[in-house]
Structure formats: C-alpha cells, structure tokens
C-alpha cells in the first residue's frame, strides 16, 4: 500500500544525517559531559557544538540557549521561570487564546501560585491583534506569551509587532516557536523576543530534543534544581545524543530551509485549492497567506475528524485532527473555537502538514482518495441529510 505521511505537526521523520551524527553518542561515547575525564570532555564538546548550531539557527548567542527535553518543557520553563522571577514586580500574564496547552496549563499552574492571566482573543484566521495585547496589559503584567506559528491552523502571528508593544511597556515577551523554528526563518533579535521555545522533532531532529532561548540579562528561575547543567537552570545529565541530533538538525535547516519551503509551498497550495474544488462545504482554517509553508488545514462540514482519519489511515494516509473525538478528553480544539468556528464544524477538523519528501504524487493520491471518504461519511451523517432536505425546500 502507498504510504503518505502528512503529519509534520505531530513529528517529522529523523533526517538520515541527524541519525549519523547521533550514532557515535549512542554506540561509542557514553560520557557524561560534566565528567572531568576525556570521555566526558568529548561529550561536553559535542553538546557545546550543538548549542552553537542551535544558536546560529535563531541568530542568538550560544550562552542564551538552554537544552530541554520537549517543546512542552521549554514552554513550562519559560512561563514559570520568567513569571516567578518577577513575582515582586507583579502577578499578571497575558496569553493568546490559541496557545499550546503547555502554555495555557503553565498559566493555570501559575494561577494557583497567585498569578492571574488574560486570554487575548483571535480573529477568524486565528490571528492576534497587537492592539489587543496592548489593551490586556495592566500595571501588574510581568509576562506576555504569544506563539509564533500555530500548529493546528498554521497561522503565523505578528510576533514582531507584539514584541514592540511589550518592549514599549517594559514587559518580558516569550514566543512558543515550536511549530516555526527550522521551517521558517527565525531571528530572535529581529523579532525582538526575550524568550523563545523550539523543538527538534519539528525540523527533522530527534524527539526529546528541544531548547529554550532566553535573552542575555533576562532573569529566569531554574526549572530543575540540583546541578550545574544548563547554567544551573536545568539540572540533570544531558541527553548528549539528542542534543547532538538537535544541533545537526539546526545545521541542516540553515542549509535546506529555503529549499524545503520552496518545494512544499506549491504542493500545499495545490492541496488548499484542490480539495475545495473537489468537495463542497470544505473550509480552509487559519490564515490564507500568513501561514506555515507546509501547512494545510480544513474543516469538513457534516462529518467528524476521527472517522476521516481512520478512513485515510486505511489508505495509507497519515494526518491529524482537532476534533473532540480524537482528543482523549473529548474536547474540541480550543484553537478552532477561539476562531469562532462552531462546535459541529470544529468536529470536522483535519490537518495535513507536508514533510520534505512529500511529492506531487502524494498530493494527487490524497486528492483522489479523500473525496470518496468524505462522501461515504456524509451519506451516514444525519447533519448532511438535514442539510440536503433543507436545500430541497
């Protein structure tokens, strides 16, 4: 069976060159980078080389990069570490309504410690208006966090403008750039952000490899206590192989990012244009232009996402959905709801995110295989029957 992987947002595959770079630290050098002996020092050299590469990818200093184990950890580290370090200044944080759960839930944890938070709404494209951030800021505000790109709808936020608002108000600004880094150019000084999260498995690096950028001079509390690793802010023996993999993935992204984006963008556009041509009542979610180059997301009316995913999987197509039934908590995507999409339509959410080996044939295959799936499920749907009856009247 033909296999078509269109779930970049869940994880990219590991780049073969990344695997090659990691292998020596899985098979040969097992040293602890904090050991004084040469086996340890060799591992330390590899970790620091990787830090340099990750820093280059986002145009930061190596000393501003802290390795973590996931994008979620980076977001937890940022929200809690930055807010708590400024507890004496105030206890209010500002977030967008479409942030990743690791940001939203970190804010919830902070609420238990006496912080309060404001959720800034988004427009129908999932876009934050920097003016709304300005309005949400109070004299108590110590931190603003707005993501760079949304993984569910692909929308790229006006982070530079939001950073300006924060700078003018002298408030620290963090951006969750997990979906963006390695896929679109990210320059922390141009963006003007104080902290930024990134994760390796979004750009062909290994799972379990991630980092948090914290601008020099910005105070952040340690996230894991007990050791001198990561500047004393994230204790624990380093996952050397994962860190080396992250560094290599960063290096490859610097080299290939533009080429990759140029290759997937026309394929994505063909999907965005082709699907609504073949099926009615299919709506693009997220911003039509200001979106990740590999990202195509839709709501398909009258049917539910999980049923579509199962049918697509039977035909070898891997995608994802923000429908309530696909989440274990049976909760519809907060992102789609925040964009004003009603519950029933949000249930029909489907996300196709392309990877660097996605081919034109893959998109043809999807465009051929998907409409019959939609048709089959609509035939079963009471909502579709109701729609057809009303149309006849």
């Amino acid at each position: 069976m033909k296999r078509v992987y269109l779930d970049h947002i869940a994880s990219t595959p590991l780049h073969p060159e990344v695997l090659e770079a990691m292998l020596p630290y899985l098979k040969g050098n097992f040293g602890n980078p904090q050991s004084l002996h040469s086996i340890g020092q060799e591992a330390l050299g590899a970790v620091e080389e990787a830090r340099e590469k990750v820093a280059q990818l986002i145009h930061a200093q190596a000393s501003e990069v802290y390795f973590t184990s996931s994008g979620s950890e980076s977001n937890n580290f940022a929200l809690k570490g930055l807010a708590l370090a400024q507890r004496d200044k105030g206890a209010h944080i500002v977030l967008s309504a479409v942030e990743h759960q690791s940001v939203l839930h970190s804010a919830k944890s902070l609420e238990k410690l006496g912080f309060s938070s404001s959720l800034v709404p988004v427009d129908k494209f999932g876009m934050v208006n920097p003016e709304d951030i300005k309005k949400a800021i109070t004299p108590e505000t110590v931190l603003v966090s707005v993501m760079l790109a949304n993984s569910e709808v692909g929308t790229v936020q006006p982070v530079q403008e939001i950073a300006e608002v924060c700078r003018a108000a002298d408030i620290i600004f963090h951006t969750d750039a997990v979906a963006a880094v390695g896929n679109v150019p990210v320059n922390v000084s141009e963006l003007g952000v104080d902290a930024l999260s990134l994760a390796g498995n979004q750009f062909y690096g290994p799972k379990g490899s991630a980092a948090l950028f914290v601008k020099k001079g910005i105070r952040i509390l340690p996230f894991i206590d007990g050791g001198i690793q990561e500047g004393g802010r994230r204790a624990g023996t380093e996952d050397v192989a994962a860190i080396v993999g992250l560094g290599k993935a960063a290096e490859i992204s610097m080299r290939d990012m533009e080429k990759r984006a140029e290759a997937v963008r026309p394929l994505r556009d063909r999907l965005i244009q082709g699907l609504p041509q073949r099926v009615d009542h299919v709506f693009l979610t997220g911003h039509p232009e200001k979106r990740l180059p590999h990202h195509a997301s839709f709501c398909i009316e009258f049917i539910e996402g999980e049923a579509m995913l199962l049918n697509l999987d039977m035909q070898g197509i891997a995608a994802s959905s923000g429908s309530a039934c696909t989440s274990k908590a049976l909760k519809a995507s907060h992102v789609l709801l925040a964009m004003g999409i009603d519950h029933a339509l949000a249930q029909g959410s489907l996300v196709f995110s392309l990877i660097d080996d996605t081919t034109s044939e893959d998109i043809d295959y999807l465009l051929e295989a998907f409409p019959p799936v939609i048709e089959r499920l609509r035939k079963m749907s009471p909502l579709y029957t109701k729609y057809l009856e009303e149309k006849e009247k």
């Binding site: 709404p121 309005k135 909760k331 519809a332 907060h334 519950h343 035939k379 079963m380 009471p382």
Partner: protein, 194 residues
C-alpha cells in the same frame, strides 16, 4: 490501533445505514457539541422490528456502535430490543476504549427512543413531528467516563469512582466537569477573561 477488529469491521462496513422515510418510530440522541449524534429509524410489524436504519455523525466508535445496535435490534421483539444495553453492545463489539464507552450509551439510547416514539404514536399521543424534536442533551454524567482519569464514572453521583475527583455538570453542555473548574473538557466552554 485503538479499536478492536470487530469495531473496525463495523466501521468499514456499517450495516443498515440510511433513513426510513415512513418510519414507525424515530429516535435521535446526542449533540455535535460533544462529538456524536445518532438518528435511529424503525419499522415495526407484529411487535417485531421489521426494519431498522440509522445515521450517525461521529467518530469510528460511534459509527460502529450504531451499526452493531442496528444489527442486534433487527428482527427482535420490542421488549427484547428494549433490553439491548450499552454494556451488551460494547461486549458484542469486543470492547471499546474507556473514553469511547459513552458512544455505546448513545447507540442503545437512540434505539430505545425510536421504540418509545413508536409506542407513543400507537397510543395516539404522537408528538408533532418526531424528526423535529429538540436535540437531546448529552448523556447523563454517570454514564460517561471521568474526563480526567478516563475511568468509568461510578454510581455515586458527582464523584468519579475511579479517581474520586468531585465532578459537576457543565452548564453549557451538561457533561461532567471538575467541580469548580473554569473550563469543561467536553464542550470546551471556557471562562475567558480579557
């Protein structure tokens, strides 16, 4: 795969999909807010279910459950069909993931509603138009799984029998949420403060 072979088989080849235009009884349950909605149509002859059709908006489990319920009900007397329980449907399907058990509730409920609709019509107290009956509130909280630990909700109303978390009904969708919580894991209702 999260589903049993039997569930997948029914999902791929659902039995009795469709609408019976001149149905003797119609039952509709669920709400797209919480994910699933089912409509059951029955024809009754000599106190037996002579034909049954369904339509479902929902996940793989919901579709498989509807199909299974329709197969189990076909040819049964009304009394026998009323005895089809959520549990027996889930068992026939070779089990369902814990957080999908509520789908099996909907299937049996929709069938029972169709039978009740038929019986009411027989009594001559037929409602205006069964198809236009208001969409039901989602299944009762005690029939659901705990949204936090995914364990089955016990008989003790308002407390999850598995993790002992105190629960209350979400004012928006009626399903169980953590007591005092500002958002509901089922319908996503959230207290947004700007």
């Amino acid at each position: 795969m999260i589903y049993s072979e039997k569930v997948m088989e029914h999902f791929q080849n659902p039995r009795n999909v469709g609408v019976i235009k001149d149905a003797d009884g119609v039952g509709q349950v669920g709400n797209p807010v919480c994910g699933d909605m089912m409509s059951f149509y029955i024809k009754v002859k000599d106190n037996r279910i002579a034909d049954v059709k369904f339509q479902t908006f929902g996940c793989g489990a919901a579709i498989a459950v509807s199909s299974m319920v329709s197969e189990m009900a076909m040819g049964k007397t009304l009394e026998e069909a009323m005895k089809i329980t959520n549990k027996s449907v889930a068992e026939e399907l070779g089990g369902l993931p814990k957080n999908k058990l509520h789908c099996s509730n909907l299937g049996a409920d929709a069938l029972h509603k169709a039978i009740e609709d038929y019986l009411e019509k027989q009594k001559g107290i037929k409602k205006e138009k069964a198809e236009e009956a208001p969409v039901e509130k989602p299944a009762e909280s005690e029939e659901c799984t705990c949204p936090y630990c995914e364990g089955p909700l016990g008989e003790l109303e308002g407390i999850c029998g598995s993790c002992n978390l105190e629960l209350e009904d979400c004012p928006e969708c009626g399903k169980a949420k953590k007591k005092g919580a500002e958002d509901c894991p089922h319908c996503g209702a959230t207290k947004v403060r700007v």
